[in-house]
């Protein structure tokens, strides 16, 4: 009989759950992780990672089509979609195996099955409907993640109307696609399919695309994507989807309240996500669910003693790195680690891997002004950066927002090549609470795109050199 008594049981093996489990094991807690499908969760298997593999393909395809710009003569560039998808799946599979290995190495017991709260301090595990184990735990972390949200009349069918999951493994290349929703997921698929040659239309209910980003960056992203041939309708809603045999006709109501019909091969729904709160045995406990998410305090306690929730199931922002960080903090709190700071939402960077990429951390200009802050804004365009020109990536902007009084870096917003790799610089700066002075004193290597981060700081104080 296996030992089923644990200090901590984590339900869910995604980037929140498995990271929490490993951190707990490092801190000496006897830990189990219950996962019903894939270790690594959506992120690793059906989200962040496989889409990045796809976007690499579309980026290379784009470059090959513009190879002449770099002095190549490349004719008749074609792709094999099955191989494109296979590569993406192989990357996911490799990482999935890696997570299992990491958990084993850290002596975390993995239960393959669905976990649910049984009685107090107990987690029941079942696989394919049959109970497989009952675990006792002093602490239980719910990290079951989330899934695509569907709206009435806009239900996915997996064939013509896709969620991210189908969009990631197309059997054939659709000629035309309608993407509903222009958050990170919607825009990434729109960018991928556009670069792969599809005719793509994006419908967003809010007045601008990438609505959580700085307005200026949103506008630049829209301009860049439209230049690539993407059609974007903002302030618009999809009223109905009429499915035919091999295509869908969408009724789209525009900002001007006029409706138009749009017939496409496929529809991708990317209208947000909803927490996986079902079948967790929450009924009859003090755990509260609101708007599809478990309600927690800043330290992730979920109302019931010894029960915590982290990551997507505990609400936005729906980001893997936020889930992982919450998992670590939650476990450290349980283990009694001192001097912990709860996460400031404004310290969590966000990245969108469309072409051009978008990355940001902290307050947008509008949010900073709404808080009544006096701000200093710095901007530096890619066109002024040597490395950007050498790469052939002259489109983009780095924007910084400082508190005029204290020099606090309130926010940073970027659009352009590789900005997702650069945002960490500003994130570290924010975490260390540097002011403009330290950033100005930092030596940035030449020639790099990161020099623009330096210039954007200098620009906020009227000291930029190269504009």
């Amino acid at each position: 009989m296996a030992d089923t008594g644990f200090d901590l049981v984590v339900i869910g093996g995604g980037p929140g759950g498995y990271v929490a489990a490993i951190r707990a094991a490092q801190l000496g807690l006897k830990t189990a992780c219950v996962e019903r499908e894939h270790l690594g969760g959506i992120c690793l298997n059906w989200g962040c990672i496989p889409t990045k593999a796809l976007l690499r393909t579309s980026e290379i395809y784009h470059l090959m089509q513009h190879a002449a710009d770099y002095g190549f003569q490349v004719d008749n560039v074609r792709f094999d979609l099955a191989k494109v998808v296979a590569r993406s799946r192989a990357v996911a599979k490799q990482l999935n195996g890696g997570v299992r290995h990491l958990l084993k190495k850290n002596k975390v017991t993995v239960y393959d099955g669905a976990g649910r709260l049984a009685s107090k301090g107990k987690v029941a595990v079942s696989a394919e409907g049959a109970a497989t184990a009952t675990l006792t735990a002093k602490h239980i972390i719910i990290a079951t993640g989330a899934r695509a949200r569907s709206l009435p009349g806009l239900e996915p069918d997996g064939k013509l109307v896709w969620t991210y999951k189908e969009a990631m493994v197309p059997a054939e290349m659709p000629k035309s696609i309608l993407v509903v929703g222009s958050g990170a997921i919607g825009i990434e698929f729109a960018s991928f399919y556009r670069d792969m040659g599809a005719d793509v239309t994006v419908v967003e209910v809010l007045p601008r695309i990438l609505p959580v980003e700085d307005e200026e960056i949103s506008a630049l992203a829209r301009k860049a994507l439209e230049k690539q041939g993407l059609r974007i309708h903002t302030g618009a809603t999809v009223k109905a989807l009429q499915k035919a045999k091999s295509n869908v006709t969408a009724v789209v109501e525009g900002a001007d309240k006029k409706t138009q019909s749009l017939t496409v091969d496929r529809v991708i729904l990317a209208v947000g996500i909803t927490g996986n709160v079902e079948d967790l045995g929450l009924e009859g406990t003090a755990v509260k669910v609101e708007k599809g998410h478990i309600v927690t305090d800043p330290w992730f306690t979920a109302g019931e003693p010894g029960v915590y929730a982290i990551g997507d199931v505990a609400g936005p922002p729906w980001l893997a790195h936020k889930a992982s960080h919450e998992g670590v903090l939650c476990v450290e709190r349980i283990a009694g680690v001192k001097d912990l700071h709860s996460i400031a939402k404004s310290a969590i960077p966000g990245c969108t891997y469309c072409r051009p990429q978008v990355a940001s951390v902290g307050l947008t200009e509008q949010a900073a002004k709404e808080q009544g802050r006096k701000v200093r804004i710095g901007r530096f365009p890619f066109i002024g950066n040597g490395k950007a020109l050498a790469l052939g990536e002259s489109e983009g902007l780095v924007k910084t927002i400082f508190d005029a009084e204290t020099g606090e870096l309130l926010g940073a917003h970027m659009i352009g090549a590789e900005v997702t790799e650069m945002i960490q610089g500003y994130t570290v700066a924010r975490t260390l609470e540097t002011t403009e002075a330290e950033l100005m004193h930092t030596v940035f290597p030449h020639p790099t795109l990161s020099e623009m981060m330096h210039e954007a700081v200098l620009a906020a104080y009227g000291r930029a050199i190269h504009i």
């Binding site: 001097d339 700071h341 009084e405 606090e408 260390l432 609470e433 540097t434 002011t435 002075a437 330290e438």
Partner: protein
Amino acid sequence: MPIKILMPQLSPTMTEGNLAKWLKQEGDAVSAGDIIAEIETDKATMEVEAVDEGKLGRIVVPAGTEGVAVNTVIALLLEEGEDAGALAATQAAPTPKAAPAPAGAGGGRVAASPLARRMAERAGLDLGALRGSGPGGRIVKADIDAALAGGAPVRAAAAVVAPAEAKAAPPPPPAPPSGARYEDMPLSTMRKIIARRLVEAKQTVPHFYLTIDCAIDRLLALRKDLNGRSDAYKLTVNDFVVRAVALALRKVPDANATWVETAIRKWASVDVAVAVALDGGLITPVVRDADHKGLAAISAEVKALAERARAGKLMPEEYTGGSFSISNLGMYGIPQFDAIINPPQAGILAVGAGEPRPVVKDGALAIATVMTCTLSCDHRIVDGALGAQFLQAFKGFVEDPLTTLL
């Protein structure tokens, strides 16, 4: 239980001090009121009096220790009937922490984020008095926000004494050219304070300067006359200057002010600080209510303060506050110089030597004893016209000293 003698806090902003000297040795009997040790702080040496009586059981912090945090146990006093055995018990028992340890305790550098540092500086918060909640006790923005929300003491309100050393450890001095002979003199606490405060003043206070010549023949004649009447006092030119400055501040009260970021604080009383040179530094004791004091009273007070300053015996309240300073280098024959403002004051008057100079009087060349004075103003408070009005008033009192009697 032996009584713990703690490092006293001798001024509101004091966070640490140097234990200069023990005046009692281990085993000595101590009565309440006895001076047991001398503590050296930013600018002065102060005495520690025993509050209880007993026998000095153990000196925990030896003489010559620098940077002893306030409330550190510096010695243990044995009560009547206790023997040395009781000391061991005290030491074994965990020291109860009365308050969370400030991040500056231990005399090292205060760990704080650049943003926290800047916010503290702007709000006038003493970083050394805060507890940091960041990694390794680092003071972060949240701690400053909490301190401000909790109404933590603000430097601008009272203290002239600078806060605990909050700057990063200084880099080692540059290496000299090979073969050069040199000696690095260790910095005294006073030297460090002077260095930091004057850099801060010159970098953060927008200085501008106004110079005026004062003919002081009538002042010298009056001084001679008054000094000839009694041996009870011996008035100096500087005593007249102090009185003239005090009356000019009364006449131009807008110059008697302090910049406090959110307001200009106009002082109700006229407190004039007078720079006194010491071995290895200087200090500015304050003549309170100088506008209400006569020349003899000012003279006696400046003399007493200067003597106490040179002996290192000034109490903090004797050299803090003050709304205006006077620095006089006339006795060294310096005709004119510019002084650095002593924050948070609005101005400092640099007084040169009175010397015979050719002047034009009624269209003809004549000789007068002229003293050149240069006013350094904090432009945030004192604009050019206001500074000029002040100097005019000052010059009036100096050139026609009988008006100071009115």
